[in-house]
Structures are given as structure tokens and as C-alpha cells.
């Protein structure tokens, strides 16, 4: 099956009557801007890691269309359950660079308040967020509101039992859940064909989910498909799944060495399908991007990069007491005693 595509790698619009999209300059510029900011942020975070300011960084390089295209197609009050590489999506929700980076700096395990952004904290245990998203959607269903839940996961995570239980549980309970898989072709060094024999959207269909395959580097297709499917989910059509074919253009993380397992030519071929590039071509061809917009955006990107650097370096450490106070609602006598003894020991050295 061919993925849904509305914009080809050369920036030419293609036709697909099943997925209408009202194409406006504003929409295109907005999507383009968000992708550019996300990529600039990602580059900067990479640099920060190389400078030793972050312990680790997992780049979203190449997946901007999949993330921006999807999250921009749901409502701000739709709750999102990300995996751990959804930086572009997080930025779209207004999460700040500081909030995003603090986890990777090693100062916190999560940086933002999920309630503020309706964006759950990152989940590093693969697929573990998917039952959470399903349960949250069960709550929405019981509340009788018209929110939906959007959950991200990867091609690797799809092999976990919990991911497949989710396909099944969601299908049988008919919750308002939209499962969005970024198939970026790799799970660390493991190619997608080692994970699965069929395309993941076909698997989801087998469970009874409405499921679609979309060119994940075509932001117009991602946006159009997500918007249409989200509305069906919202209006009681039951849960659905979207598989976006995209590519992890960087290594798995800054600790990874992709040269050990994949050919440079593969990356080269995906570079010709860069998601930002093709929307840029469209904007240029249509004359929807003038010099002013271009210059403003370049400047905005640089400001954002600088802010990212600065915020990162200024990130505060919490007091160690937070560790003892956030295990349970109230610290237990054991924790209190442990904390007391530790403080005493530290104090004894300070003397």
C-alpha cells in the first residue's frame, strides 16, 4: 500500500481526494516555521550535549513533519502521551527549551507540568505510555466530553506486548484514542523489518482499528490525515491508528554510532525526502515566503537557539530533600530518618 502523500519530495502538490486539505499560505508558513524552530532547537541541543551541558540527547532530526503535522491537527485540549523523542510536538504545545532539556541534563526526570500543556511527561520504558493513554481516554469517555487522546510511539515499541495489548484494549473499549506511530525505520540498530512482517497500520487494522499509512515526511499529508481521523475519533468513531513513514536522520542518541549498522547511502536517500525542504519548495514556488518572512524566521531561530543554550546552562538543581519528599504523598518515618541522617553526615563534613 502506498502511503498518503499530498506533497511530493520535490514540493509538488499531488492529489488525494480522500484527504482534503484547505491549503492556505498561513497554514503552510505556520507549519514551516514550527518545523524550522524544532530543527534549530534540536541542533542546539545536540551541540549542548557535545559541550557537556546535557548528559544525553535524542535527536528528532527528520521527524519534524510527523510531529508538527500531527499535533497541529488536534485541539489544544486534547491530551497527548508522548514517547521520548517528541521534541517538535512538545515545542508546538509551548513547552519551553528549559523544560524540555532539564531531563536530559540529568537534573530532573521530567521538566514540565503535564496539566498545563496537556502533554504527559516523556516515557522512556517503551510502549508503557500506551496503556496510560488508553486509560486516560477511558476517563474522557466516562466524562462524556469531546476531547481525544493522542499517543505517540515508535516502530520498535510496537513489538512490545503492552503496545499490542493497547491496540486490542482500545479497539474493544472504543475509547477516543488516536495512536500515532512514527515509523522512523530504526529502533537503535534494529531495522523495522526485524520488528514486524507487515506494515504496522495493517497490524492495527487486524485488531479492528481504523488505520492509515501516511508519508511522514509530508507535513501536509500528516496534517490532513490526522485532522480527519481525529475528528472521526472525536465524534465517536472509535479509536484509530496512523503510521507515519519517516526517518531518524541522526543516530539513536548522542551515545549511538549509526555507522556501525547502517549504510550512509540510506541516509543520503532520505535526505532527498527531507520534510522541511519540500514544504520550503512549495512556499517558494507559490511565492508564499517573502524575504521579510525568511529573515524574520532566521532571526527567530537564532534567538531561539541562544535562548535554548542560556536556559539550559542556567537550569537550577533542586534541593536534595525533593528526592525524599516525592516518593509518597508524605515521607515515611524511614525516609525522614534517612534524610536526616544524610543531612547530618553532609553537615559533619561542612564543619
Amino acid at each position: 500500500m502506498e502511503p498518503v502523500q499530498l506533497l511530493d519530495p520535490d514540493g509538488r502538490l499531488t492529489q488525494d481526494e480522500n484527504w482534503p486539505l484547505e491549503l492556505t499560505p498561513e497554514l503552510c508558513r505556520d507549519l514551516y516555521r514550527r518545523m524550522r524552530l524544532a530543527r534549530r532547537f534540536d541542533e542546539q541541543a545536540y551541540v549542548l550535549q557535545r559541550q557537556g551541558e546535557l548528559g544525553l540527547w535524542l535527536q528528532s532530526l527528520g521527524q519534524e513533519a510527523a510531529q508538527v503535522g500531527s499535533i497541529s491537527a488536534v485541539r489544544p485540549d486534547d491530551h497527548v502521551f508522548p514517547s521520548y523523542r517528541e521534541h517538535a510536538a512538545a515545542l508546538c504545545r509551548g513547552i519551553t527549551p528549559a523544560e524540555l532539556l532539564v531531563q536530559w541534563r540529568g537534573s530532573r526526570n521530567s521538566g514540565w507540568d503535564p496539566a498545563t500543556y496537556r502533554f504527559h511527561i516523556y516515557t522512556l520504558v517503551l510502549a508503557a505510555q500506551l496503556p496510560h493513554a488508553t486509560g486516560y481516554a477511558m476517563g474522557v469517555q466516562r466524562d462524556g466530553t469531546d476531547e481525544i487522546v493522542l499517543a505517540y510511539f515508535g516502530d520498535g515499541a510496537a513489538s512490545e506486548g503492552e503496545a499490542n495489548e493497547t491496540f486490542n484494549w482500545a479497539a474493544t473499549t472504543e475509547v477516543p484514542l488516536l495512536l500515532f506511530c512514527q515509523n522512523n525505520q530504526w529502533a537503535i540498530s534494529t531495522p523495522a523489518h526485524t520488528q514486524t512482517r507487515t506494515s504496522l497500520h495493517q497490524r492495527a487494522q487486524g485488531f479492528g482499528l481504523e488505520a492509515h499509512l501516511v508519508d511522514g515526511n509530508d507535513i501536509l499529508a500528516v496534517h490532513a490525515v490526522t485532522a480527519a481521523v481525529a475528528e472521526r475519533v472525536r465524534s465517536g468513531g472509535g479509536p484509530a491508528m496512523i503510521e507515519a513513514q519517516t526517518y531518524r536522520m541522526a543516530g539513536h542518541s548522542t551515545s549511538d554510532d549509526p555507522d556501525r549498522y547502517r549504510d550512509a547511502s540510506e541516509l543520503d536517500s532520505w535526505k532527498t525526502r527531507d520534510p522541511i525542504h519540500r514544504l520550503e519548495r512549495l512556499l517558494e514556488e507559490r511565492g508564499w515566503m517573502n524575504d521579510g518572512f525568511r529573515a524574520d524566521l532566521e532571526a527567530e531561530c537564532e534567538v531561539f537557539a541562544n535562548r535554548t543554550s542560556q536556559e539550559c546552562k542556567q537550569l537550577p538543581l533542586q534541593d536534595v530533600s525533593t528526592l525524599f519528599n516525592t516518593v509518597l504523598a508524605e515521607p515515611t518515618p524511614l525516609l525522614t530518618e534517612e534524610h536526616r541522617r544524610y543531612a547530618e553526615l553532609v553537615a559533619s563534613f561542612a564543619e
Binding site: 508503557a128 496503556p131 493513554a133 488508553t134 486509560g135 481516554a137 506486548g161 493497547t166 504523598a329 518515618p333
Partner: protein, 327 residues
């Protein structure tokens, strides 16, 4: 005040919890029409409907995982795991998600989820249906682990667990489900907070610590010791396994100077080890003998015909008591 079995006392506890708070949800395998294999959820679906008393698919990881999601949405789910030996598919969700969410979110996210687990042996069941796995969860920071032993405690501890902002692993000893006793409609004078142990019988000569299905055995052991050997044994029902109520425990052992811990779980790295290690630190100079442990053998739970040998009985508890006095 009524005479109820433990199963019924838990049932009325759930009923109260569902009545008092519309956010409370009961979920699990066969909890609806069947009322659960131990009938603890009997009639609840009829009274509260299938939206609040949910017959789930057969998938423990998702039972706990979706309960976490429901809690994030503001609900207070009470999950039933059908038997102790079937909680392991949910282990990842419990240990890496449920237990850690508060710490991972630096206090922003609370998960008031209760996981009810029928526990332990003594009912002649087939394999995987008689296990005591409390220490896996006790060792896991971020969970409360409690175990009831009688109808009154079962009822009130369950209501307290539902009211708690923390995730609670709530153990129910299977072999006590049909034991009857009085249950009060309002908290009794004797109703303790969830984090306190209960002194069931006081005595000056030795402290016998236990919980769940072994409480009855230990009380009988104390009676025998009093009658036959004039030994006054203080029996403490731990009730809360994590955190431990060390105040009560240490006060008792400080007084008696001797201590035996009895549980169904294998002793090796079992809860008795923790209790023993802590007591020894608290009461080193008061101890007349090392804290002795009596537990299931360090083997996978045996076939039913061997459980009377495997589970500590009166003789093995009294033997440990004797060994303590003989030290």
C-alpha cells in the same frame, strides 16, 4: 455492626467507596457479572453499572496501565488481580510506572490506584494460585503495601487505601475470605490508620510478628504457649508491610527482648529479613536471641498436597519460639 466474612467486608468496603466518590472505579477480570472468583465484587456492577465496575480484557499489564491513565484523568481505580501468581504481567507497569510516577514528575502527579491481590496459600489450589509475593512490592519505593487479616480491618483498610493519594498494593489472604467477624459501620475506636500495626495480644516474653493468612496460626501459637509453657507472647499483626510500623514493632521487642517473624513467603530476602535487620539495629542490646524467621520453604510453591508442610503451621511457629527461648 454486622457479622461478615472477609470477602463480604471487602465487598461492602468497595460499595461504600463507590457510593462516596463518583470517581472510584472497580476494574478487573470477571469482576462484573461473576462478582470476581472470590465474590469480593459481587453485585457491584448491578448497582453501579458497567462504566464503573468494568469487566476488562484478560491483560494484567493493561489493567494496571489503564488504571494509571484513569488516575491521571482524575479517577480512583481499584484493580483486581485475580490471583497472586498473575500479577507478574503487570510488573512493569507497577514497578516502573505506578510506583515511580510521583517521583518522576517531582511530585506533580499522584496516582491513587489500589491493586487488590488475593494472596497466599492454604486453599488447596493449583500452581500459581497460592503465592506470597509481597516483598517484590515492599522493596519497590513509591508503593504502599498492606495486608489485611480479618473482616473489620479488611473493610476499613480498603476504604483507607482508596482514600490514599498513594498507590496501594492491597493483599487479601485467600484462606481468610470466609472467616466471619464483626464489622462496624463507622470507624471503631480500634480502627487504626493504614500505616499502623496492631497488637492483637500483649505479652512480655516474646514478640511474634506476622500478617495475613498467618495471623490466625500465630494467635493460636500464642494461646498454646501461654497454656502449655506459661510464655506470654505478644502477637503483632503488621498490617502495613511497606512502610513498616517500626514504632510499634520496636516498642514491643524492646519490651520482650525476643522476636519471631512468621510469614508464608519464602524466608530468603523475604519481609522477615527486613524486619529482623531493622529490629536488630533498633534493639541490639535488648535482644536475648536473634530475630528468628519462620516462612515458607525457599522453593517454588509446592503442589497443594504439600502445602500443609510448606506453610508454617503451629508446630513450626512454636519451634521457632522454642529456639528463641533456648538461645
Amino acid at each position: 455492626m454486622s457479622q461478615l466474612t472477609l470477602s463480604k467486608a471487602l465487598n461492602t468496603g468497595l460499595q461504600q467507596a463507590l457510593t462516596n466518590d463518583p470517581k472510584v472505579i472497580v476494574m478487573g477480570q470477571d469482576v462484573g457479572g461473576l462478582g470476581g472468583v472470590f465474590r469480593v465484587t459481587d453485585g457491584l456492577q448491578k448497582d453501579f453499572g458497567p462504566q464503573r465496575v468494568i469487566d476488562t480484557p484478560l491483560a494484567e499489564a493493561s489493567i494496571v496501565g489503564t488504571a494509571i491513565g484513569l488516575a491521571l484523568r482524575g479517577y480512583r481505580p481499584i484493580c483486581e488481580i485475580q490471583f497472586d501468581g498473575f500479577v507478574y504481567p503487570a510488573f512493569n507497569q507497577i514497578v516502573s510506572q505506578l510506583a515511580k510516577m510521583r517521583a518522576r514528575s517531582h511530585g506533580q502527579l499522584a496516582l491513587p490506584v489500589v491493586i487488590r491481590i488475593p494472596v497466599g496459600g492454604g486453599i488447596g489450589a493449583v500452581e500459581h494460585h497460592s503465592e506470597s509475593n509481597e516483598v517484590y512490592f515492599a522493596h519497590t519505593a513509591g508503593l504502599r503495601v498492606v495486608c489485611c487479616s480479618n473482616p473489620q480491618d479488611g473493610h476499613w483498610m480498603l476504604r483507607q487505601a482508596v482514600a490514599s493519594e498513594d498507590p496501594v498494593i492491597f493483599y487479601e489472604p485467600k484462606r481468610r475470605y470466609w472467616a466471619k467477624d464483626e464489622v462496624t459501620d463507622t470507624p471503631a475506636e480500634s480502627t487504626l490508620p493504614l500505616d499502623r500495626a496492631r497488637i492483637l495480644r500483649s505479652g512480655d516474653d516474646l514478640t511474634l510478628l506476622t500478617y495475613g493468612g498467618m495471623v490466625d496460626t500465630c494467635q493460636r501459637a500464642a494461646a498454646v504457649a501461654a497454656e502449655e509453657d506459661r510464655r506470654e507472647i505478644e502477637v503483632v499483626d503488621l498490617r502495613t508491610l511497606s512502610p513498616l510500623d517500626m514504632e510499634t514493632i520496636a516498642a514491643s521487642v524492646g519490651k520482650t527482648g525476643r522476636c519471631v517473624v512468621a510469614h508464608e513467603a519464602p524466608t530468603f530476602a523475604g519481609l522477615g529479613a527486613e524486619v529482623g535487620a531493622e529490629i536488630t539495629e533498633y534493639s541490639f542490646y535488648d535482644l536475648q536471641a536473634p530475630v528468628l524467621r519462620v516462612g515458607g520453604f525457599n522453593i517454588p510453591y509446592p503442589p497443594a498436597k504439600y502445602e500443609d508442610q510448606h506453610l508454617p503451621d503451629l508446630d513450626r511457629v512454636l519451634d521457632a519460639v522454642d529456639r528463641s527461648f533456648a538461645w
